[in-house]
């Protein structure tokens, strides 16, 4: 009897997960369909860009600076063994532009902006603001979800680019200013090795994908949260956990597609 119960529980979990994925897909589709009106009322997106993009700036810049500085230190220690300290710039720039920039910026974005989105929408639902909108024949997806979605998608590549740029500056501070790697070879080797289309554009594409996924997860969790205090807190946690995992898994897939055998 116990065995059948276990199998039944596993089956229910799997069916639930697939069901949820279907609902998320429908939610995504609805968001795209109803986003027309929010582009006509662009101030809605501007307001959300402020709360997701501008408010995430400080954490992104500070984190980027320190990640770059750590890369500079660690890279120097490793490269010194092979006598190729002059390749420090290449190492810092490539790891930031290809991987660390998009991924770490997206992880920070998920915990800084994603969780806030979920909590906000969850609370709107708990206080029946969303039902009130429906009563007034205002489509909550067009009015609440779509502007936030586009704000997230727009701000993510900018945040990732700023993260990379500040990180490279951090690597420069540690590598060139503090340790004393030759400045000329730091920049010139970097410029010779980093390709605009291959490395920088692929990083931007990555961050666009991450921005879409993180924002979608955050909005869906908020919209789907049970209208209780517990429900909202659970949804916020799920947003951070699910989007972090999604970022890391998608990063592997995207890297495998983009940089295979290059």
């Amino acid at each position: 009897m116990a065995v059948t119960n276990i199998i039944r529980a596993i089956g229910r979990r799997v069916v639930d997960a697939v069901w949820r994925i279907g609902v998320v897909a429908r939610f995504f589709f609805l968001t795209l369909i109803y986003s027309g009106s929010c582009f006509r009322r662009f101030h809605l997106i501007i307001k959300e860009l402020f709360s997701t993009g501008v408010m995430s700036l400080i954490i992104i810049v500070v984190a980027g600076l320190f990640v770059g500085m750590v890369l500079g230190l660690q890279g120097y220690e490793t490269l010194k063994r092979y006598g190729s300290e002059s390749a420090l710039g290449v190492m810092v720039a490539l790891s930031l532009v290809r991987e660390m920039g998009p991924v770490v910026a997206a992880l920070l974005f998920a915990s800084r902006a994603g969780s806030a989105m979920t909590a906000e929408i969850g609370l709107m639902k708990a206080t029946e603001q969303i039902s009130a909108m429906e009563m007034m024949a205002v489509n909550p997806i067009a009015r609440i979800v779509a502007p936030r979605f586009w704000a997230g998608v727009i701000s993510m590549p900018f945040l990732a680019a700023m993260f990379s740029a500040v990180g490279i500056f951090g690597g420069y501070l540690v590598g060139v200013v503090q340790i004393g790697v030759d400045e000329g070879s730091f920049w010139s080797q970097m410029q010779a090795a980093v390709d605009f289309r291959e490395d920088i554009m692929n990083g931007i594409i990555k961050s666009l994908v991450f921005g879409t996924v993180v924002t979608l997860i955050a909005l869906f969790e908020g919209f789907d949260a049970p209208p209780t205090a517990e429900g909202v807190s659970g949804a916020t946690t799920r947003t951070v956990v699910t989007s972090s995992l999604a970022i890391l898994m998608l990063d592997f897939v995207l890297t495998a597609i983009m940089f295979r055998g290059a």
Partner: protein, 154 residues
């Protein structure tokens, strides 16, 4: 249109993001460094190209004069066929010598051009006749071992 402080902040955010992108493209990437305005193509056959890759640099006297466009295997001669794009500001004699060299001990490989003494200059689509292959470490060690073995025992 009514202006709010919110617009200013978002504007600053977008400007900062754009600035970061431009800085990445110009200062970090290769978009601002070298673009061949006018170029001509030259072919060369090497018996071994070692680790040469497309987009590797072509230098003469250490100055960047072009890039490798494509590398393929010619199945008539079983030699590597390298197509390179040279900046048309720089003209080379027809008997220019092409070497595959390595920058630094473990650095990337590039093609070094040593101009010859011919009066006529290379034209678009012509072939560099004199080439020298890349140094392959195994060959060097093999030669060294062979010459050691050939030495009379003391």
């Amino acid at each position: 249109m009514e202006r709010t402080t919110l617009d200013l902040w978002v504007g600053m955010f977008v400007v900062a993001g754009m600035a970061a992108l431009v800085m990445l493209a110009m200062k970090v990437g290769n978009l601002g460094t070298y673009n061949v305005s006018e170029s001509y193509q030259v072919h060369a056959y090497f018996s071994n190209i070692g680790g040469l890759k497309p987009k590797a640099s072509i230098r003469s006297a250490g100055v960047l004069v072009g890039r490798v466009t494509s590398i393929s295997l010619d199945t008539d001669k079983y030699e590597a066929h390298v197509v390179m794009n040279l900046d048309s500001r720089y003209q080379f004699p027809r008997d220019t010598f092409a070497n595959i060299l390595t920058s630094g001990l473990l650095g990337e490989q590039y093609i070094g051009l040593m101009p010859g003494g011919d009066e006529e200059m290379l034209k678009n689509g012509e072939q560099l006749k004199q080439t020298q292959s890349a140094m392959v470490l195994e060959d060097l060690i093999g030669k060294f071992m062979y010459s050691k073995a050939a030495e009379p025992a003391k």
